[in-house]
Amino acid sequence: MTASAPPTYILHYFNVVGIIEPIRLLMLAAKADWTEVHPEWPQEKYSQPFGRMPVLIEKSTDGSPDFMLTESRTIERYLARKYGFIPTDLKHAARQEQLRDLQADVGILSNEVRLGAGDEAKERLNYLIGRLIEFHTEVLRENGDNGYFYGDKLSYIDMSLYGFFKLIFAHPPTSIPNYVADIKSRITPEIAKVIANVESHPLLREHIDSRPEFYPLFG
């Protein structure tokens, strides 16, 4: 049986930092063959398979229909599993997924505050940012404080944490004074090591450099 050619991917999204930063990093770290398409929006909304973005299209190589996936975290997990960036051990995988969901919840809340949510949401946001930093730092200490969440190399959560901070720094709520500076001051050395590892990774460097205004992220 002949081996099938490696898949090629098309990713549909807006041309922004956005929630798909982890997907971009996963594709780069996987050395996947991918292109990004930025459909006219909302004109092309109804021609998207799900009326929403992001959409990942894995081109079929055998005449079967292309595989299409939406929902950013589902896309992330699909790629992370496929390319070995999520531990195969169920418990370690669940720990990573849990951290990712927390990042996403805080990202969503940050966006809600940016869109006008009031004091109660701001307080909750401040609390959750603190918990997020604490929790991620704890996991990093358990892994030996080597700048990686799992083992001694880049995994899903290293990339998604980078993507999370970049997202909230790129789209901060203006109603919270010094939002970005305050978060930067709360970052622990353990987390800073992870971000530095992501930023210096040979496969990710070019992408990091393409947005110099966000490099270094904790600068």
Partner: protein
């Protein structure tokens, strides 16, 4: 002393259907020993890993430490994968996970929509219409046999079932004007799925009295 062979679980949540219902059903379908705790709230908030519920504790077998996990979707996927309820084929598993997230996008947006926030209401309506379309198409493509994938109970069957169960219940409390449109999502194939879950022998201890949650079964 022999260590217990199968882990046992403590599921912490509020004493309501809610987003925890799917995990209750998954644990039941997995046929593991599990108990529920309903922590005093908000007193117990600081004692939870992220200050929120649900939390699942897997009691260590032998001398191992407990495994604690939060975030409802991560809990669900852990239990589903561990106990063979998630399709093993990665693309099919992703399709199920995708639908779970689409369903929860609707749940999450319903709060803002219920408060009358204009943009959110339109989005909520749009997502509901899309979900109805997706459910109808997927169930038909699988042969209208009461299951989303193949011919037996898998993860997303339980998610779909618990969505209708808790969401209609919750909407009656904070947005009764939306109950009808959600009930309208229960097309004949969806009803077939709900009845199949409800009839599943391994779920009887949890679902026997569930008719009250499904107006469209009356």
């Amino acid at each position: 002393m022999f260590p217990s062979e199968k882990p046992s679980y403590i599921f912490k949540y509020f004493a309501v259907p809610g987003i925890g219902e799917a995990t209750r059903l998954l644990l039941t379908a997995a046929k593991v020993n599990w108990v529920e705790e309903n922590p005093e709230w908000p007193q117990e908030k600081p004692n939870q890993p992220f200050g929120r519920l649900p939390v699942l504790i897997e009691k260590g077998t032998g001398d191992g430490p407990d495994f604690v996990i939060c975030e409802s979707a991560a809990i669900e996927r852990y239990v589903a994968r561990k106990y063979g309820l998630m399709p093993s084929e990665p693309k099919e598993a992703s399709r199920q996970e995708q639908l779970r997230e689409q369903i929860f996008d609707i749940v999450n947006i319903s709060y803002a929509a219920a408060k009358g926030a204009e943009g959110f209401k339109a989005r909520f309506d749009e997502l509901l219409a899309k979900l109805k379309e997706v459910l109808a198409m997927e169930l038909k493509n699988n042969g209208s046999n009461g299951h989303f994938t193949g011919d037996k109970l898998t993860y997303i069957d339980i998610i779909i079932y618990s969505f209708f169960k808790f969401f209609i219940f919750n909407l009656k409390a904070y947005a009764p004007e939306y109950v009808d449109v959600v009930v309208g999502l229960a097309t004949p194939d969806v009803v077939k799925l709900i009845l199949a879950v409800k009839a599943d022998p391994c779920l009887q201890s949890r679902v026997a009295n569930d008719d009250q949650y499904f107006p469209f079964l009356a």
